[in-house]
């Protein structure tokens, strides 16, 4: 597995000539690893071949920059080329006279209905009046599903049961939208196989009757090699204008994004990032590239931290930390904040190079340790938390008993805490300032 392509390439280059220009042999050796990484990420075989060809052309003979190792230089080129292939994030096209029609198409189970409701919510937040249209007359209870979602979000749903042909339902919906002053109409069509001629024909009819401004392919981020053929068929038969990649909140590397982009050329418009209606995010090509290369997702981690953590509390804790007043009570509070971000194992996955480590740990372990730490601190009196120095043998025995741990574990925690305090003191001393700046600089 390729947890970190850069580490892997570092190994390759240690065996090769190290400095100067990238030779053909250097590049080929490196690109073998890149090729495997892309295939592991489910990028289509033929797409990988083209991609590697392009990178090779760019990389051979390139001067290795002073500040970079050859491995970093190759990764830089690969990364740039990947980002270019993924393309710029695109907005929904809502130009021209209302009502605008957005048509969602895709295979069964790719997430069209959920995405329809997410889009509707997104549009209403940007001051539109969306109308959802239940055009899936095939899957049992698909209409009910959209109606329930519509009720939850308080967004109207146009439905005519399962007996009216979908092109008719969609055409009627446009009339209804005009009457109800809706400016965006979202068509939730039935999932279908790209080789099902009758159903693909039905899509073409829906398109002809509604003249949609956007025809978005909803595709599962976990899709394998077949993504190319699916996207090609839909593009040929209905004409796509964009892509929404769903279920990106799992651990799929999402190589399908590259495959689909390569064969259709349409931009990626949104990512589906969870089961809730708000879980629709903008697409960031740089993050997607890191993810496909298996290089962690530190930016998403930072973003999640920013949106989840209590900024004020963090600020206060930071100030106390620098003032040398940080005690176990503050520590407990911060622990609670970190836990909100999700299980430890998942957080580690997002940090470059840590994914393999987190996989080797039993998933419960790190979280279990956190719980023990919390239990220990909770078993202390307020005075003890504010001034751990007063913890003598008798107090420690009491804390251990109270938290179901041992005196050794209590000691371990106290030792770690003292170490942290010492580190903070050094940082305040100015000598550490630069170290901290460097550390933070690495994340930017």
């Amino acid at each position: 597995m390729f947890e970190n392509l850069q580490d892997k390439l570092q190994g390759v280059f240690q065996r090769l000539s190290s400095r100067g220009k990238l030779s053909e042999a250097d590049v080929d050796a490196a690109l073998r690893e890149v090729r495997l990484a892309l295939l592991e990420a489910d990028v289509n075989f033929k797409v990988v071949k083209d991609f590697i060809g392009r990178v090779r052309e760019r990389a051979v003979g390139v001067e290795v920059m002073q500040s970079l190792t050859p491995a970093q230089q190759v990764v830089k080129i690969v990364n740039e080329e990947l980002i270019a292939t993924l393309g710029e994030p695109a907005r929904l096209n809502l130009d021209g006279p209302a009502p605008h029609v957005i048509m969602l198409v895709g295979l069964q189970g790719s997430g069209k209905t959920t995405t329809a409701s997410k889009l509707a919510l997104f549009l209403r937040k940007s001051n539109h009046r969306p109308l959802l249209v239940a055009a899936d007359t095939r899957r049992p209870a698909a209409i009910e599903q959209l109606q329930v979602l519509g009720r939850q979000l308080d967004i109207p749903v146009h439905a005519e049961g399962t007996d009216v042909p979908p092109p008719q339902i969609c055409a009627n919906a446009i009339k209804k939208a005009r009457q109800g002053a809706h400016d965006v109409i979202i068509l939730d069509t039935a999932g279908r196989l790209h080789i099902d001629e009758a159903l693909m024909d039905e899509l073409a009819q829906v398109k002809a009757k509604t003249n949609p401004q956007e025809v978005l392919l909803v595709a599962d981020a976990m899709t394998g090699q077949d993504a190319v053929r699916v996207a090609e068929s839909f593009h040929q038969q209905v004409g796509l204008t964009g892509l929404i990649l769903t279920k990106i909140d799992g651990d799929a590397r999402g190589g399908a994004a590259i495959s689909i982009r390569s064969v259709t050329g349409v931009p990626i418009k949104f990512l589906g990032t969870g089961e809730r209606s708000g879980d629709l995010e903008k697409f960031h090509p740089d993050r997607m590239a890191s993810r496909i290369l298996g290089m962690g997702d530190i930016l998403t981690l930072i973003e999640r931290a920013e949106s989840t953590l209590d900024q004020e509390k963090a600020q206060r804790a930071g100030e106390r930390l620098l003032a040398g007043e940080f005690n176990l009570e503050d520590f407990l509070e911060q622990l609670g904040e970190v836990k909100k971000l999700g299980p430890m194992s998942q957080l580690l996955e997002m940090i470059p190079g840590m994914a393999s480590m987190s996989r080797s740990l039993p998933p419960d372990l790190t979280d279990q340790q956190l719980r023990r730490v919390e239990a220990i601190i909770n078993s202390m009196t307020l005075a003890e938390r504010r001034n751990p120095k007063i913890l003598n043998a008798s107090r420690k025995r009491r804390v251990a008993r109270g938290s179901g741990t041992t005196v050794q574990e209590v000691n371990q925690l106290l030792a770690q805490f003292r170490q942290m305090q010492r580190m903070m003191k050094q940082l305040r001393g100015g000598k550490g300032q630069r170290a901290l700046a460097n550390l933070l600089g690495g994340f930017r």
């Binding site: 189970g109 009910e144 080789i195 976990m222 899709t223 394998g224 090699q225 279920k247 799992g250 998942q346």
Partner: protein, 305 residues
Amino acid sequence: MFKSKQLRDSLARTRGSFFGQITGLFGASDINDDLWDDLEALLIQADVGVDTTLSLVERVKDRVAREGIVKASDAQRVLKEEMLSLLAADGSRPPSLDRKRLLTVVLVVGVNGSGKTTTIAKLAHYYRRQGQNVVLAATDTFRAAAIDQLKVWGERAGVTVIAHQPGADPGAVVFDAIKSSQARGATMVIVDTAGRLHTKYNLMKELEKIRSIAAKQVHEAPHETLLVLDATTGQNAISQARHFKKSVDVTGVVLAKLDGTAKGGVVFAIARELGVPVRFVGTGEGIEDLAEFDAETFVEGLFAG
């Protein structure tokens, strides 16, 4: 036998494209380097995955050298045997549903949109035809209208669906479904669970709870835990299988949506790395479109002209 025919039919498209090409490759008399490259390319494009592909090709190469094989058609036979032995690696364990029980509990799990509910309808129909008295448990109380969807299928399959209100505790639904099955003398409960990504810690814990509730009520339950995999899924299916196996001890895979152009080649990797066998194959949207998986027919079908 209807099941083999159905499986062969469903593979017709697969055969016509990729694996059909493998047969084409082997048709050309002698073994050379191009053959191995093309073979690798074709296996990878069938979602078999890099590791599994390389190990398969390596094993075939070894045997070709050792056994002094020169004809491409003989190499094909060797490849077929190696692929078969991968899938049959766990074949020693008989399907756990063969034993007679008062009440058999089948737990069906998988990620969102893999095809669990449709598969359950097909399973209900399949087992009902085998003389089982089937009850379905609707524990997907999260997704909008999931309960309605199962109820429609239940009606079509002619089986009872035990459900609570949307948002109810899934564990309570399982408890009730088993109690009610016992009361009405049903012989099988199939539990439909909410789709969940295998990386969601809390949702996987919920699944473990559902499983343990079943285990407390019926001896050795669940007797079968089926992971529904979308055949279009790529290498992530391995991660799915690994996580679900760890949480709820998956005993078999149902490969759904095999009627498209996707190959489902990732099941080779799942068999190789995790030893989880494929039990059924989903081949369409109809309630009859489910075939018992048979490794020999599967591999044979991939090569048939």
